[in-house]
Every structure is written in structure tokens, then in C-alpha cells.
């Protein structure tokens, strides 16, 4: 699984951190998403998918495979 984030689209709501705290964090200064792990293990797939689906700025893409 490969995770891609678009920092320019990110609205800094932190919904991804709530959905998958092992994969996403926020920058201190502006809250923009920080990708902790671009290739997370499969057991985190559900949370990562949730983060991508819930992101109110459509800033997260998940390539499964």
C-alpha cells in the first residue's frame, strides 16, 4: 500500500490523524498533514482508507497493491 498526501490541498482539520494516528500527523505551525509512513503495513489499511475517504479536502490518495 502506498499513501500520497497533497499538502497544498490539506485543510488541516486533523481528521486523518483521528482515523489513522500511526500514519498521519499534523505540523505544529499550521496543522498541515505530515505523512509518518508512506508505505504502511496492511493491518493499517482500514484506518488509512478511512482517512482518505473522510478527508474534507480530498488530499489523501491510497494506492493499494
Amino acid at each position: 500500500m502506498k499513501v500520497v498526501v497533497d499538502e497544498e490541498k490539506c485543510c488541516a482539520g486533523g481528521q486523518c490523524v483521528l482515523a489513522s494516528p500511526d500514519v498521519f500527523d499534523q505540523r505544529d505551525e499550521d496543522g498541515v498533514v505530515v505523512l509518518l509512513n508512506a508505505n504502511p503495513p496492511l493491518e493499517l489499511l482500514e484506518g488509512v482508507r478511512e482517512a482518505a475517504l473522510i478527508c474534507p479536502a480530498a488530499a489523501i490518495t491510497v494506492e493499494e497493491g
Binding site: 485543510c11 486533523g14 499550521d30 496543522g31 473522510i54 474534507p56 480530498a58 490518495t61
Partner: protein
């Protein structure tokens, strides 16, 4: 009943969330999405931000890549609005007379921008709801023009900020005494008004519009109720939205009354999104019953569209699904500030700054009603604000912050 035909009316965030969540849940049946615009699902918050600022081309607002959309196996029918629904026969009717049978119909048609009553149609008077609206307004916001924004809600305030950043002289008009007060209350309304004044916006809150004055087929001034005449080259009417439900009139789908607690004209739904047998609604158009069962509320926030869309997919596919409401969230970009809010405070709730200060423009504040935290709003301290999300709905003792 086994659901094998889901038809979604509306090709934006809520509709897309229904489609994605249904597929994620393993749904392998037919999935039709109907949209009245020609565009594939796109996102609306950037319209009053990056698109209007000229930073993003229209394509950048796409909610999903063509490849990801393709994986959903959607029967995407764009450019044709729905015109009616027969709930007995379970058929959706499109404007081109196509009839689409369904097991489950999802109403996700959003809202239409309200127009100013009695205002003339003129090429320099705009509303802002869709991509075409945004591009038309953007193209007229050339340096040196004078923009009058009618309506100082979140949308009007964002446009005022963007236009100012583009070197345009802006007057922001609203009959309410402060901007955004219905959403953020008086304390933050004052803060927002100050922010705009500092950037040179002429904030005329507390006075309504009497009429738009025309000359040669264009509006050339906005006359206010106090008699003031504000010269205008471009006018934006940003006075809210009305649910796009005209196509449902006469159908056996319940619609709410005008008042906020009556659903503000939206499709009345149980929590979880069911409106009638085989009919569901999500997003701006939907008025879901509150947990206490006492009101139907429409919420026009971006995250709500996704949350409700996901819940509707689950309601359709799993009769045992019980919806648990999420904490509402919205954000607004104005100048270099990102204002973020959790919860749904009332306009009269007390606002107490708990971190930072309004003067520094880095703060977190809590909204309180009878000692209970009804919401939290902040700017410049995103991590600290997020920590307050879990406190919404809980009592707060003064000193505990």
C-alpha cells in the same frame, strides 16, 4: 430485500461518499450517479479560496482522479438533472425522460444559491455555488474593480478576503451587526470584522440592502437601507442556500418547513439518512433528526457531506447499522488565517479563550452553554484545537483549561 440498484442524485462530495463507502463495504451491485452539471465530482471549498484567488485551475478541484473514479464502477450520468421520482414504482425520472429503477435512491443534490429578492439579472451580479460561478466571478475580479459582497456569512467573508488579496476594493454588507455571527457568535464575529477592516475592507454590517441600482443593463451601485449608495463594478450575492428539492415536489418524500429546527426546507430523515421507504438523503440537502429527536437540522459543512454519505451507504446495506453522529467540523481561510471549528455552538453561547489570545491571532476558545462545552474554535494553534474536539459535549469547570 437485497439491494442491487443504488441510484445517487448529486455528483458532489456527499454522493461520492455514498458510492465509495458502498464499494468499500463490499457492495457489488449497480451504482448510478446523476449530476446536473457536466463536471465529474469536484470539491466546493476551494471555489471561494484557491480557484477565486487564481491559484488553481478548475481541474484541481476534482475530488478523485479519473482512474480512482473508474475503479468505483459508476454509471455516471452527467449534465442531466433529475426531474421527479416515483416512490411506488421506485423509479427516478430524469429531465430527458430517462427512467432509472432503484432499490435505494440517495438524494444528494445540495443547495442552490439564494438570489436577492427583486434584484435585476445583470452580467456583473454573481452568486457562488458551482465551478462555473467561481470562474465567472474570478474573471471579473480584475485589479481596480470595486466589489460589493452582500452577505457576510462564511462564504461572503472568504470572498472579501480573497478579493482584497487580489487588490480589489471590497465593501462587505450584511443586515446583521457582525460577520459570520450565526455560525461563530459575537466574539469571533468582532474578531473577523476587525481582521477585514485591518486589511482595508469597508465592513458595513448592521445595515441591509434596499436595492441594486442599474445603469445600461449593469448594476453600478448598491443602495443600503440607511440611504448610503455604494458604487459597485461587481456584486456578489452570498445570502445562503436553499435545498435543491424542487424535483421532489409531489413525490412521497418528506420536506421540512422553513425554520432551522424544522429542517430548513431539506429532506427530512431519520438519523442515518432514511427519508422514506427506499429513499435516503445526505449532505447540504438533508435534514437529519437530532439525537434527542426534537429537531431536524440541515448542516452545510463539507465534512458533514462525507460523514452523512458514509452513513447512508451503511444504512442502505446494513439494516442493523446505527448512526453515531461525529463532532461537526468546519474551516475557513481568510487572509493568512485558517479558522477552524469543532462542535455546533449556538450564536448566544459564551466564548472563552483558553489558549493564546485573539490579539495575537493565535488562539483556541471554547463555547459554553450552561457550563457545557458546545464547541471549540481556533486559529494558528491546530494541534491544541484538535485536543478540544473530545471535550465538546462535556462540562467545563473554569480553571480546568
Amino acid at each position: 430485500m437485497v439491494v442491487t440498484r443504488i441510484v445517487i442524485v448529486g455528483a458532489a462530495a456527499a454522493g461520492l461518499a455514498v458510492a465509495e463507502s458502498a464499494r468499500t463495504a463490499g457492495y457489488g451491485g449497480q451504482l448510478v450517479m446523476v449530476g446536473d452539471e457536466e463536471y465529474k465530482p469536484y470539491d466546493r471549498p476551494p471555489l471561494s479560496k484557491q480557484v477565486l484567488l487564481g491559484e488553481w485551475p478548475a481541474e484541481r478541484t476534482a475530488l478523485r482522479s479519473d482512474a480512482d473514479l473508474g475503479k468505483l464502477g459508476l454509471d455516471l450520468r452527467l449534465g442531466v438533472p433529475a426531474s421527479g421520482v416515483d416512490t411506488d414504482a421506485r423509479e427516478l425520472v430524469l429531465a430527458d425522460d430517462t427512467r432509472l429503477p432503484f432499490d435505494a435512491l440517495v438524494v444528494a443534490t445540495g443547495v442552490r444559491a439564494r438570489k436577492l429578492p427583486g434584484a435585476p439579472a445583470a452580467p456583473n451580479v454573481h452568486v457562488l455555488r458551482g465551478l462555473d460561478d467561481a470562474m465567472a466571478l474570478r474573471d471579473q475580479l480584475t485589479p481596480g474593480v470595486r466589489l460589493v459582497v452582500i452577505g457576510a456569512g462564511v462564504l461572503g467573508a472568504e470572498v472579501a478576503a480573497v478579493a482584497t488579496q487580489r487588490g480589489i476594493a471590497v465593501t462587505l454588507v450584511d443586515p446583521l451587526p457582525l460577520p459570520m455571527t450565526r455560525v461563530v457568535g459575537a466574539a469571533i464575529g468582532e474578531f473577523v470584522a476587525g481582521l477585514h477592516r485591518e486589511h482595508g475592507v469597508d465592513v458595513r454590517c448592521g445595515v441591509g440592502v434596499r436595492q441594486l441600482r442599474t445603469a445600461g443593463g449593469r448594476v453600478d451601485a448598491v443602495e443600503l437601507e440607511d440611504g448610503a449608495l455604494v458604487p459597485a463594478d461587481v456584486v456578489l450575492v452570498a445570502i445562503g442556500g436553499a435545498p435543491a428539492v424542487d424535483w421532489l415536489r409531489g413525490a412521497a418524500v418528506p420536506l421540512g418547513g422553513a425554520k432551522p429546527e424544522e429542517g430548513a426546507g431539506g429532506v427530512l430523515c431519520a438519523a442515518g439518512g432514511r427519508a422514506a421507504e427506499g429513499v435516503y438523503a445526505a449532505g447540504d440537502v438533508a435534514a437529519w433528526c437530532t439525537p434527542d429527536g426534537e429537531a431536524y437540522l440541515r448542516v452545510e459543512h463539507r465534512l458533514n457531506a462525507t460523514e452523512q454519505g458514509r452513513a447512508v451507504a451503511k444504512s442502505i446495506l446494513d439494516p442493523a447499522f446505527r448512526y453515531v453522529p461525529a463532532v461537526p467540523y468546519f474551516w475557513s481561510d481568510q487572509y493568512d488565517l485558517k479558522i477552524q471549528s469543532f462542535g455546533s455552538p449556538g450564536p448566544d453561547d459564551e466564548f472563552v479563550v483558553v489558549e493564546g489570545s485573539l490579539a495575537e491571532r493565535r488562539f483556541v476558545g471554547a463555547y459554553l452553554r450552561a457550563g457545557v462545552v458546545t464547541g471549540a474554535l481556533g486559529a494558528g494553534l491546530p494541534r491544541e484545537l484538535r485536543a478540544w474536539r473530545t471535550r465538546v459535549g462535556r462540562p467545563m469547570s473554569r480553571g480546568s483549561s
